[in-house]
């Protein structure tokens, strides 16, 4: 029994090592699997540490994003655990440093516009602040007001259950609904920064649109009964 359990643990360790190696090579499936394995554990750990389930979830979300950005810097695959928890911890420290202890109602309160260290490239932060803006500076048109609020709420909810690719589409959508000035006001940052952010997001959505368009084009061709594949003998090409 004991030796069986040992070998199971050993297998687990081996599999994890392989997953990390694959994740380092930008394999998103492997990364997703690693996150799934560690997420619950990390949440519990962060919750215990912060004594706040909302904040804990928030910290982990951010940690996941950062994890993606830093996956290439992983040197020793066996140290994934240590590394992942360190990111979680760093995120937690950062939040506490920014906002001190905050209640369950406002897990983002550390990100008030007065704070200079705003992460304005984080769409969750943007969304949160926008929700607040809609409430504090209502539009003169009540229907518009409701639509805007619902849109933001909807996006926020959807973002939580989207794959990264799907999330990119919605990020693009979101940035197109808002003027740079609105976002700039929210963050009290330079408009040029917002334009850069918008430009990046627009590029992302532009590529998604192109993919969708190509998909439709290919589908139409198929429906018309046109050939789906043809390769010419290319030995005559120089």
């Amino acid at each position: 029994m004991i030796s069986g359990l040992d070998s199971e643990i050993e297998n687990e360790a081996l599999m994890e090592k392989e997953l990390v190696e694959r994740a380092k090579r930008n394999d998103k499936d492997a990364f997703g699997e690693l996150i799934r394995r560690h997420r619950a554990k990390a949440c519990r750990w962060a919750q215990k540490w912060t004594k706040d389930p909302f904040l804990a979830e928030d910290i982990v979300q951010d940690a996941l994003l950062n994890a993606f950005l830093q996956i290439h810097s992983l040197v020793d695959s066996e140290k994934f655990n240590a590394w992942f928890y360190r990111i979680v911890a760093n995120q937690g420290y950062m939040k506490l440093r920014r906002g001190g202890h905050f209640g369950k109602e406002e897990p983002f309160s550390s990100l008030s516009p007065r704070q200079k260290q705003l992460d304005w490239s984080n769409i969750d932060h943007i969304l949160f602040h926008l929700t607040k803006t809609v409430d504090t500076t209502p539009s003169t048109n009540p229907i518009d007001q409701v639509i805007r609020k619902e849109t933001i709420k909807g996006i926020t909810l959807m973002l939580q259950c989207l794959t990264e690719k799907e999330r990119r589409i919605f990020e693009g959508y979101f940035f197109e609904q808002l003027s740079p000035t609105e976002i700039a006001n929210m963050f009290q940052t330079k408009v040029s920064n917002v334009y850069n952010l918008l430009s990046r997001s627009k590029n992302k959505i532009r590529m998604e649109r192109i993919r969708i368009c190509i998909g439709e084009y290919v589908k139409t061709r198929k429906e018309k009964g046109l050939p789906t594949k043809r390769v010419l003998d290319h030995s005559k090409l120089l």
């Binding site: 192109i210 190509i214 290919v218 061709r221 043809r230 390769v231 010419l232 005559k236 120089l238």
Partner: protein, 318 residues
């Protein structure tokens, strides 16, 4: 006497046009494509820096259309403005154009697939959404969405459309007209960037050396392309001098022309050796620049003489 055989050229536009045309006219040679499409006679120099963009910075649609007419083809093309990637609509139009051509058994010509040069698309797979394509850098798969989003982010696709009846005399006349027009008339709409073609191209090159602001990489590339082109020009007129359908006067002049282009190629070969691609040597070293200027004056003098012979040839063709 058979045709001159060459299997590669520094002018990727001509190689790619060959890659389409030869699927319709099997006996066509690369030398003929270089000559009749005018690429053997091109020189296009950025007057300040001899920039690497020179050899490919011209109105492709206009030049290719004329050149293909000389070979007996009409064509269809889609191009976005400089440095503007295609909209989804432009992209799907281009994909459709390419697929229509491949369905007819003819590869398409496209720009900036694996490298900013011309190449051919010879296959497609809708399920994988990829083209099979070849350019000077690679032969492999190119995702549909990457067409027009290579290194430069602009789209150009050309396909052969219809075939026209042309006589060998008409073909030669068209090539001579292209060559003479390129030698004398600036083909650029705007003064900037300061590209100069034909005889003025040599002058621009000389001025750039005098100012010692020459790009080593660009200079080496331009030297290689123009040297290669003139070698083809020599072979093209050598082949013309053996054509029975062409009258004796013209054949005699073609022989002279071939010799002259051979001499120009020899001059330019000295440049190629001094400034090897891609390292490019030291074009802004005063002594090197002085020598380069002497070589370019020699080449320019011969180019002026050869254009006069081409003009004479044109009068004898009528």
């Amino acid at each position: 006497m058979g045709k001159s055989v060459m299997t590669e050229s520094w002018s990727s536009a001509a190689t790619a046009l060959y890659g389409a045309c030869v699927y319709v006219k099997e006996k066509l040679s690369l030398v003929e494509v270089m000559g009749y499409t005018g690429h053997a006679f091109r020189i296009n120099i950025h007057a300040d820096t001899v920039d690497v963009a020179g050899p490919t910075a011209y109105d492709w649609e206009k030049f290719f259309t004329k050149g293909l007419m000389n070979l007996g083809f009409t064509c269809k093309a889609i191009r976005t403005k400089d440095f503007i990637p295609p909209t989804p609509e432009e992209l799907t139009k281009a994909i459709s154009l390419v697929q229509d051509s491949i369905d007819k058994g003819i590869p398409a010509v496209a720009w900036d697939m694996f490298i900013p040069e011309f190449g051919n698309i010879y296959g497609y797979d809708d399920d994988k959404k990829v083209f099979m394509a070849k350019d000077p850098k690679a032969d492999g798969h190119l995702q549909y969405e990457k067409l027009g989003r290579g290194e430069i982010h602009e789209l150009f696709v050309l396909t052969i459309d219809k075939q026209l009846e042309v006589t060998e005399t008409e073909m030669l006349k068209g090539a001579l007209e292209l060559a003479v027009d390129h030698a004398y008339n600036r083909e650029h709409e705007f003064p900037n960037p300061p590209f100069e073609n034909g005889i003025k191209g040599y002058e621009a090159w000389i001025h750039a050396f005098q100012k010692q602001k020459v790009s080593d990489f660009g200079n080496a590339y331009n030297a290689a392309v123009v040297h290669d082109a003139r070698k083809f020009a020599a072979l093209f007129f050598e082949d013309i001098s053996h054509k029975e359908s062409i009258n004796d006067d013209v054949r005699h002049l073609a022989k002279q022309t071939s010799q002259k282009y051979g001499e120009i190629a020899e001059h330019l070969n000295q440049l190629v050796r001094m400034f090897p691609f891609p390292q490019g040597g030291n074009p802004n070293d005063p002594l090197e620049a002085k020598r380069a200027i002497e070589i370019l004056y020699d080449a320019k003098g011969k180019e002026e003489q050869v254009i006069k012979i081409l003009e004479e040839m044109l009068t004898k063709l009528d």
